[in-house]
Symmetry: C2
Subunit: 479 residues, 2 copies
């Protein structure tokens, strides 16, 4: 296989690791049991309290927001949105404001020639299944500068001291644009050669194992999914070498996996060039405005501030709650904080289809109020906070198609949790559908066909793919 200028051929090793479904340390079914055990062993208590019972947090009527006494961590602000996008041109809502860029970091190491990734079975108060597999390191700047006087996060020194040649991936990626105001994290994977201690609740897994575990409901947390979604697998030139001779015929075990792999690696043959896709996005950024201004929480139109909740008058979307938390093996074992609780579960789905012998995905350009740059690429269907079961037929493109997909078209269908440090038991159904030729090539406005190679190309550069799209890409397996 030919790969580009990397000194350590990381794309080759990432790909190899993605093919290995049984690592050196624990078999995948064992991991599932191990997470379950951890889950039963921990004691987690999340109690709803009143805002004025929050310790260190203030619902401040003067500033009009909820903030921590230190000014660190995050705030819950009120915002007014004005836009010419979509049917509703003006609305108000609470939003999480967390301007700090945090680390989502994974340590990788070769064992017997296969890259393994160090994940942690980590408790987070908002998680369904309190324990999920998280990155080696998950730390906001407030965490690692130790504002809350907890212990220093484990393994952080490896990330802070990493040399450029040890860094395999290092990207800034966004979080939910409907809930966070321009929040971003540093997604980073570093490779070490030295032996390092493996602390309690940490485990080495291959990429193939992680992708296998993502198939279990609420097992691999959002932070792990966003980091591994960015892993690059390289590319080959279809004009120079045939895909199947490039790959070696022994790999051809699963038709969906191989079709995804071909779409991931093939540089040529897409329906649209990268330049055309950039033009598609440029036009939207030119045509659509997004103006966000701050409003005190108490003044938000259609939102009600009670003693213990800030909620929409129709009980839609989500609410802000105050919680008292007690858990087992976290740095700080007892604290209180505001959280965001969803009103319904949502659905995120990619629909893909062969065009010119290459799988292409239907990608939606979507404006969300907290986006860093107006629109980002989103899955074919994303109705995160609406009640999709009551949506008017045909109102949301491809929703009916996804909900009525035949089982042999469904490659992936799993419930995934959003970030358990801010969201209270929020899960969304994640689906990947491979359509057959009956699905027409024509797309509605604001939708475009892209190969997986093109999605990976945009993913590399900041702020192109939203977290929902990346979460689905993380789930794509080549075996």
């Amino acid at each position: 296989m030919k790969f580009s200028t990397d000194k350590y051929p990381s794309t080759y090793h990432f790909l190899k690791s993605a093919f290995v479904k049984d690592g050196q340390f624990k078999a995948t079914p064992q991991i599932v049991d191990w997470i379950e055990e951890q889950n039963q062993r921990v004691s987690v208590s999340v109690k709803k309290i009143k805002f004025d019972q929050l310790d260190q947090w203030i619902l401040d009527s003067e500033k009009g927001n909820i903030h921590h006494k230190t000014g660190k961590f995050f705030t819950i602000d009120g915002i007014r949105i004005k836009t010419n996008w979509g049917p509703i041109h003006e609305w108000e809502q609470p939003i999480i404001n967390q301007p700090e860029i945090g680390y989502l970091g994974i340590i990788a190491k070769e064992f017997y020639g296969v890259l393994h990734f160090l994940l942690q079975a980590k408790i987070e108060p908002g998680n369904i299944n309190y324990v999920q597999l998280s990155p080696t390191l998950q730390a906001t700047r407030s965490n690692y500068t130790q504002v809350h006087k907890g212990k220093k996060p484990l393994y952080i020194e490896h990330f802070q001291n990493a040399k450029p040649r040890e860094i395999l991936l290092d990207q800034i990626q966004s979080e939910q644009g409907a809930r966070f105001f321009k929040k971003r994290n540093r997604n980073i994977i570093i490779r070490i050669d030295a032996d390092i201690p493996v602390y309690d609740n940490f485990v080495w897994l291959t990429l193939g194992q992680i992708k296998e575990l993502i198939r279990y409901d609420n097992s691999v947390n959002m932070d792990t999914r966003t980091v591994i979604s960015g892993i690059p697998f390289g590319s080959f030139d279809s004009k120079v070498v045939d895909f199947y001779s490039f790959l070696g015929s022994d790999r051809c075990t699963n038709s969906f996996g191989i079709r995804f792999l071909k779409s991931a690696l093939t540089r040529e043959g897409a329906l649209h060039s990268i330049d055309e896709i950039i033009s598609f996005l440029t036009k939207l950024k030119n045509d659509y405005d997004l103006e966000v201004t701050n409003i005190p929480l108490a003044h938000l139109k259609k939102w009600i501030c009670s003693e213990s909740e800030i909620y929409h008058e129709e009980k839609k979307y989500f609410k802000i709650i105050a919680t008292d938390i007690e858990i087992g093996n976290r740095e700080v074992t007892k604290w209180s904080q505001p959280m965001v609780a969803p009103s319904q579960e949502g659905l995120c789905a990619f629909v893909a289809k062969d065009i010119n012998g290459l799988l292409h995905f239907i990608v939606q350009a979507k404006l969300e109020c907290g986006n860093h740059d107006i629109v980002e690429f989103a899955p074919t269907v994303q109705c995160l906070t609406g009640n999709y079961r009551q949506t008017q037929k045909g109102a949301l493109p491809f929703l009916e198609y996804v909900l009525n997909a035949k089982s042999e078209q469904i490659v992936f269908d799993t419930l995934q949790s959003e970030e358990g440090g801010r969201f209270f038991r929020e899960q969304n159904r994640n689906m990947i559908i491979v359509a057959n030729d009956e699905l027409p090539d024509e797309l509605p406005d604001n939708y475009i066909w892209m190969t997986l190679h093109q999605l990976y190309t945009f993913l590399k550069f900041n702020n192109y793919l939203n977290i929902q799209a990346r979460s689905l890409i993380a789930a794509i397996s080549f075996v």
Copy 2:
């Protein structure tokens, strides 16, 4: 030559046009005379007035800014900047705030098999040489929605009705981050086949001619330079075919040009991979904060608001002035507006050098207060608003090297104007230096080596290269 999936092989045609220095319509020296003629024929009067004499514009002590009565066009705001970048961590300054994305559009058409670009000899009040070559269309949304009741901009309908297959380039790019708050424009080139009228002061030029004209001081305006800087020339794989056999030996006429071309087209062989460069940038965005808040103009620390000027107490950087303007062939012939007048000229220079047989450029990551995303890639040396002749020796990396470069190393050395609609007679010295092996490979922090192919790759995606870097790239000629 092999090119990618474009239906119209635009990279091939762009490259071909870049090699043609004599177009079908006017020889290059004729164009220079023609601009000069235009210049002598126009009457331009720019008179400094007091702020309260501005028509339609208000220096508003309540809002603390200067704005147009309609709320359109732009405002001059005051801002306070806090950052942990560089030696000065907090300062205040006026800034131009123009949230509208405008069109910078060029129409291209083939004549006798060579792409020609329709440029306009356009008067702008702030220009040195009032007349410079500007894009076919240069229009803010306020212009084309006709807030000022002027004529509809010429040729705009071609851009508004362009079909995807007619669009050759379509990017959102930033303007000066030290002067504009997150201002961006839509840089677009469309190709037409039909005959269109060529109005007075418009002319068809090849890309080779435009690049030749950029060598003349203050002749090609900033808007033209930013649009043509983004023109992609495609790529080839050095592992598959040798560069000189790829190119054809008849092209090898000028050693600098061919070295630039090789660096522009070669996909492999760079010192750092794109992923490594993204990691370099990610670390900086993670480490450095940029916090900008609004302050009323009258309260800006170290700035003095007089009746007719807002200026720095040490007369440094720039000042805001009020002007009465009367000119010949613009849509509106008499109006008043605020402008930004620089205090000194600046210097922007790229230093390049062969590494592994490929020209690499020294690229600086630079934080500027109006940047869309904290840092952007800038030229090796950029001291736009400081008085570089008085800078302490060694204080600014590569400044001495550039100022003392031998003539045989200087590929480009020209005075270029900044945008004549906002800036009053601002020009900066633009230089490209090709260093020899004596220049060491080691770079200071925040500097990195990139090939021209890599610069073009980042240029494609939004907000990576700043306007000063793009202006220099526009000047690079392959012949």
